[in-house]
Amino acid sequence: MTHNQHRISSPYIKPASTVSGVMATVLLALIPAAICYTWFFGIGFLINLAITSVCGLLIEALVMRARGRPVFFYIGDLSMLVTAVLLSFALPPSSPWWLAASGIFIAGVFGKHVFGGLGHNVFNPAALAYVSLLVMFPLHMTGWYLPGSGSYAEALIDPLSAFGIYTSLQLSFPFLREMALTPFAVVPDGFATATPLIEYKFAAPARILMAEDEGFSIWDRQARTGWEMLALSFAAGGLILLWQRVISWHIPVTVIGTVLLLSSLFYQPGQEAIVGSPWLHLFSTSTMIGAFFIATDPASSPSSAAGKLIYGVLIGTVMYSIRIWGSYLDSVALSILLVNMCSPLIDEWTVRTHLGQLRVRKKSP
């Protein structure tokens, strides 16, 4: 086929959008969440972001060179940056630099290019990288800092203080500690606090909710969990994507709807620490980034509207099951990876009936 070279027939109209434009919209929609994440969790996120972006672009360039494709043309689609940002959100802000670097390597090479590059990937690269890291480096991947838990670490990562910035840098680049430049005496190796999603899955957030009932303000960084603000900012970014029509409503609505439905069905007042309240399920976990940004990855999700609805319901169900009855730490990435595997099959099932198609299947003699 020669069309790779020339547009030889109609339409000649200027195309309405570009791949890089779409990816740039996704990046813009992630800005609120990025600000929120930095505000609550320190500049460790920005450091991770810098590492994943630079390494990601390098990996993309090397792979494209190895595949004999024009390097800058393919880097220009910005898809690697989207993967880098999404992966950075999934990494603990206090993680060492090599965690981010190996994560983006897995995402770029094993998540994307072994399948043939952008558009051919079976799994979402960021989710795949996150789960791989979780399996390979469980200790590093669970070292989350929990804001508002009242631990000493709070002051250390304040993004507005020099001490907080320096601590974050040291956590990311451990060799800095070896140099005789430490102006502060005590710098921790990492934080081993509870995440919202380890064995005591909902215990900590439930505690925070109770604290909130006792009169803490939402906007007070010390008192309020950053998870909820982060989830809200992801939802805001998702609405930007919906408004710009980069994603369709089907997947986010069904994922969130299913989680909401199941968590309401199984909700027992007073048992937040075990099954979690619907609010906890939606806003104290990574449901929002999953529903709006990870599950909607076009390449690994079904293409028809009906298929997207099935896909979303499946993701929501699997996510809730893993959270309540499963023993794994992160339900969102796992459920999305699981259901990603089903999307070719879903696509097969939900072939669109076009206009004028003879509907003989039902009335076959």
Binding site: H3, R7, I8, S9, Y12, S304, R352
Partner: protein, 596 residues
């Protein structure tokens, strides 16, 4: 997504419904929502600034020569009935319809025939030519060339057509249909299907006159409706009479306000003129301004809610669709006896200083019109015949205007994607699914793309590639800039080729193989018999007893014969078998020859 936003429920369903509730004229009959569609920037105002310019007029001179291809329609070529050097008058028949789906061709003006076998340069050059279903004229088209004398003379001996003397209402429909056929009218909307064939359809319930000119830049129909609304409405009535349709509906896009007003007043005038007409009145229906609401099946669906099945013609479901330009051509042919020698064409684009609608003689070289409209060749990116979504590119500026050319778009970089940008390789499909919601046939374009790209014909056909109308909406919203329509066209071409020759040659080959095998079998049987007999003969010659010992002893007929007798019999049998074998072989050879 700013320039081509995707379809909105409000525009397609809610607004028409509210207008209908409010009793807005034109919205009174229910319309049905079209799935998909896009809203490209219309860019129509530029060419509507002034009225339609006539062809020999004070502003626009006659071109020095007219090039008239013999095939400007779907169907067989017309056959020239003039010879080089002959003087022809205006409206004189120069090529007669011959064969299936052919239409007549008339001289647009008076002048000398200089050639009847002029070879046109290839248009819209493709890697694999010879695909008649593609929307462009074939390469190496034969054309008649007329050197105009500028007098624009009509033959003084040409009798006035009888229909122009008697009002058309009092004529039998057969005569009217014949008059349409004689006038050489084909669909002026773009496809060029012979109108006379369409008019012979029976049991038509609804006639739809298509004034929904949805493609950007094209304003030929809109200008026509503004200025010749009476003729269009009367032409619609003529068509309605011929086919005996119960309803006649003119569908116009809701944003063409002046055209709507003109058609409304024309309908009112007609009603006032014959208050007790046996015909039902022509109805006006407004349709949402969405591309491609003006497609034939799309408009039928919007207006009547009927969806012709795959492979069905609209006439199979009792609907007929004609463009407003065709209605006017029918009007002129019936009332005035004027054959189709001119049409209204939009000459527009940013490479022109003065975009305009021209009533142009068929066969006028494009360069003549461009010159008139203030052509700036340095700004030209591509010259398109038709709009930017469904038109085809023309390299040669001497290309003539055809009966089907509704627009000449001298496009600069502002109007279309630049040649440079379109020649870089496209990105891979990211399966973003922007294409499926805009498809007016509810296809899944990305599935079709993968099927076409990998030439999986079964999958392509199963997913409905043959129902694709090639409107280009999917390609217009594709962020990877994949020329989807080009892929579909190639795939359709391959499917057609396979259906045309691939299938039949496969069966032919199977049949021949089968025949060959049968012949071989028969020959082999004879061969075996022959060998057996020869073996017997040899054994007899050696003095052994033929057959087995016990058989001889039990007193079989063989035992009563002498060895000589048996030998003779066997020799005769061998000769018979040899003859039979030779006969069969020669027969098989003859079969083979016949097969080839």
């Amino acid at each position: 997504m700013s320039r081509i936003s995707r379809s909105l429920l409000i525009k397609k369903v809610i607004k028409p419904f509210l207008f209908r509730l409010a009793g807005k004229p034109g919205w009174l009959s229910p319309i049905h929502a079209l799935p998909g569609g896009i809203f490209p920037a219309p860019n129509k105002q530029v060419s509507l600034q002034q009225k339609i310019v006539g062809m020999p007029s004070a502003q626009l001179a006659m071109p020095s020569q007219l090039i008239l291809p013999l095939k400007q329609h779907q169907g067989d070529d017309a056959v020239p009935v003039v010879r080089p050097g002959q003087y022809v008058y205006k409206r004189q028949l120069i090529a007669a319809a011959s064969g299936h789906g052919s239409v007549n061709l008339h001289a647009p003006t008076s002048g000398l025939i200089t050639a009847i076998d002029h070879q046109l340069a290839a248009v819209n050059t493709r890697p694999q030519p010879g695909r008649p279903w593609q929307q462009s004229i074939d390469p190496r088209q034969t054309a008649i060339v007329i050197k105009t004398d500028g007098n624009d003379l009509t033959d003084p001996e040409l009798p006035l057509p009888p229909l122009s003397i008697t009002p058309w209402q009092q004529r039998p429909t057969d005569q009217l249909r014949q008059a349409v056929f004689d006038a050489g009218i084909c669909g002026l909307g773009g496809a060029g299907f012979p109108t006379a064939i369409k008019l012979s359809a029976s049991s038509i319930k609804t006639l739809i006159i298509n004034g929904a000119e949805c493609e950007p830049y094209i304003t030929a129909d809109e200008a026509l409706m503004r200025e010749y609304a009476d003729e269009i409405v009367e032409g619609s009535q003529i068509i309605q009479t011929i086919i005996g349709a119960q309803d006649c509906v003119i569908g116009i896009e809701e944003n063409k306000h002046e055209a709507i007003k003109a058609i409304q007043s024309a309908i009112a005038g007609l009603e006032a003129a014959n208050p007790v007409s046996g015909l039902s009145v022509v109805k006006l229906v407004l349709v949402p301004a969405i591309y491609p609401s003006g497609g034939e099946k799309q408009l039928i669906r919007i207006v009547t809610g009927i969806q012709p099945m795959s492979g069905q013609r609209p006439s199979d479901v009792g609907v007929l669709c004609h463009s407003v330009a065709t209605a006017r051509a029918v009007f002129k042919a019936i009332t005035d006896g004027e054959p189709l020698i001119s049409r209204v064409t939009t000459v527009t684009g940013s490479a022109l200083r003065n975009p305009v609608n021209v009533e142009v003689l068929i066969g006028t070289p494009v360069s003549h019109l461009l010159q008139f409209a203030g052509f700036d060749s340095s700004a030209l990116e591509r010259l398109l015949v038709g709009g930017p979504l469904m038109g085809y590119a023309v390299d040669d500026l001497e290309t003539p205007v055809l009966k089907t050319s509704n627009c000449l778009l001298a496009a600069s970089q502002q109007d279309i994607q630049s040649v440079e940008a379109s020649s870089i390789p496209h990105r891979d499909c990211i399966r973003c699914d922007f294409c499926a919601p805009v498809c007016p046939v509810k296809l899944q374009p990305q599935t079709l793309y993968f099927s076409s790209r990998h030439q999986r014909h079964d999958s392509a056909v199963k997913n409905g590639i043959l129902d694709c109308i090639e409107c280009g909406a999917c390609a217009a919203v594709c962020p990877s800039h994949i020329p989807l329509v080009a892929y579909y066209r190639d795939e359709k071409a391959l499917i057609h080729e396979e259906a045309d020759c691939g299938e039949s040659s496969r069966w032919q080959a199977l049949f021949e193989k089968h025949q060959q095998r049968q012949a071989d079998n028969v020959v082999a049987v004879q061969q075996r018999k022959l060998e057996k007999l020869q073996h017997k003969l040899v054994s007899i010659a050696e003095g052994e007893n033929p057959g087995k010992e016990p058989v001889v002893e039990s007193g079989s007929p063989v035992s009563h014969k002498s060895a000589e007798q048996i030998k003779r019999e066997i020799e005769a049998a061998v000769a018979r078998t040899r003859a039979r074998k030779a006969e069969l072989l020669s027969k098989a050879d003859a079969n083979k020859d016949g097969g080839q």
